[in-house]
Amino acid sequence: MSGYRLPLILIAGWLAAAPGVSVAQTAVRPQPLKSGIEFTGPEVRALQEDEFANPAMLWITRGAALWQQPVGPAQQSCASCHGDVATMKGVATHYPQIDKGSARLINLEGRIQQCREVRQQTAPLRYESEDLLALTALVRMQSRGMPLAIEIDPQNRRHFERGRELYYRRVGQMNLSCANCHQDNWGKRLGPETISQGQGNPYPIYRLEWQTMGSLHRRLRACLSGVRAEMLPYGAPEYLDLELYLAWRSGDLPIETPGVRR
């Protein structure tokens, strides 16, 4: 797992300069909301915006082929039931959501897996596999330009609160919370990078450092590894709760899938 490593000295010095401990008990959005693309520099931005050169488009091409591929005993493809992938427009704006059947919080990856297992009756895809990334990116790209439409209601509130709590909890050897970096210090430099607001709007992304596509959960793992905290498995309930909190926190930022990052 190629996470970045933050130099301890650097971080210690930087934190000393950081404003007091953040133990916000209420959920707050950064003001004004900014997509991470605004912090990446012109080359990465140009790459993301070039429909052809954006390397993530290879996964979109792969996803489009998978969408048509018949699988399982009934030899049904995603297209057999859903028709053109354009019918998925707007779908991603409602995830993560509570799955009615299981009463669990699931994200878009989870929903796609469910269709594979229950409707196509075939083996699920590995969470960070090329194929699941490709299908997730393809479906999410259909909502490009649309903000998420997440409402916090009695069904998902427990997950939202837990996500918020995780967001403000200090963890790892460096004893930092997500908020320490992405809420209190966005726009500041940390080593070679400028800390963004930590928005999930471009995911799955092609990250140049990874030389491949990665999910939001891979990014969360990279951040946790950066502060030398325990990494949880992909799709862990804690990550889903965080994903819900991030979704709420992104306000009206439009989806940018498939994004490119350094």
Binding site: F52, A53, P55, M57, L58, W59, T61, R62, A65, A134, Y206, Q211, T212
Partner: protein, 105 residues
């Protein structure tokens, strides 16, 4: 190996036209090890050839220095209507090909 090819659909005879090719490939350098410390064998797309109505017009030979998911862009002169064909192969013996047609007036 997903691939994307961009060729203009129409061109005027004599025009310089841009061809763009992107191929999904890890381009393993041979210098990396997996999580267990075992060396990952070198596996890169070592050759890509573009033929225009059967005639080779572009060839790239690649090695370990190329990043994953290579993206190539080159120019050719539009001569006649017909087909561009792209063929490539990697160290493991896997091959891929794509074709695109062009109308030259």
């Amino acid at each position: 190996m997903a691939a994307r090819i961009s060729v203009p659909q129409n061109a005027r005879r004599g025009d310089n036209i841009e061809i763009r090719v992107a191929i999904q490939h890890p381009m393993e350098t041979g210098y990396r090890t997996d999580d267990n410390g075992t060396a990952i064998p070198k596996n890169v797309i070592n050759k890509l050839v573009c033929r225009y109505n059967g005639v080779e017009v572009f060839r790239a030979e690649m090695g370990s220095g190329i990043a994953a998911n290579p993206y190539l862009s080159f120019f050719i002169v539009a001569a006649n209507s017909g087909e561009l064909r792209f063929d490539w192969g990697d160290d493991s013996g896997a091959t891929g090909s794509e074709r695109a047609s062009i109308i030259v007036a």
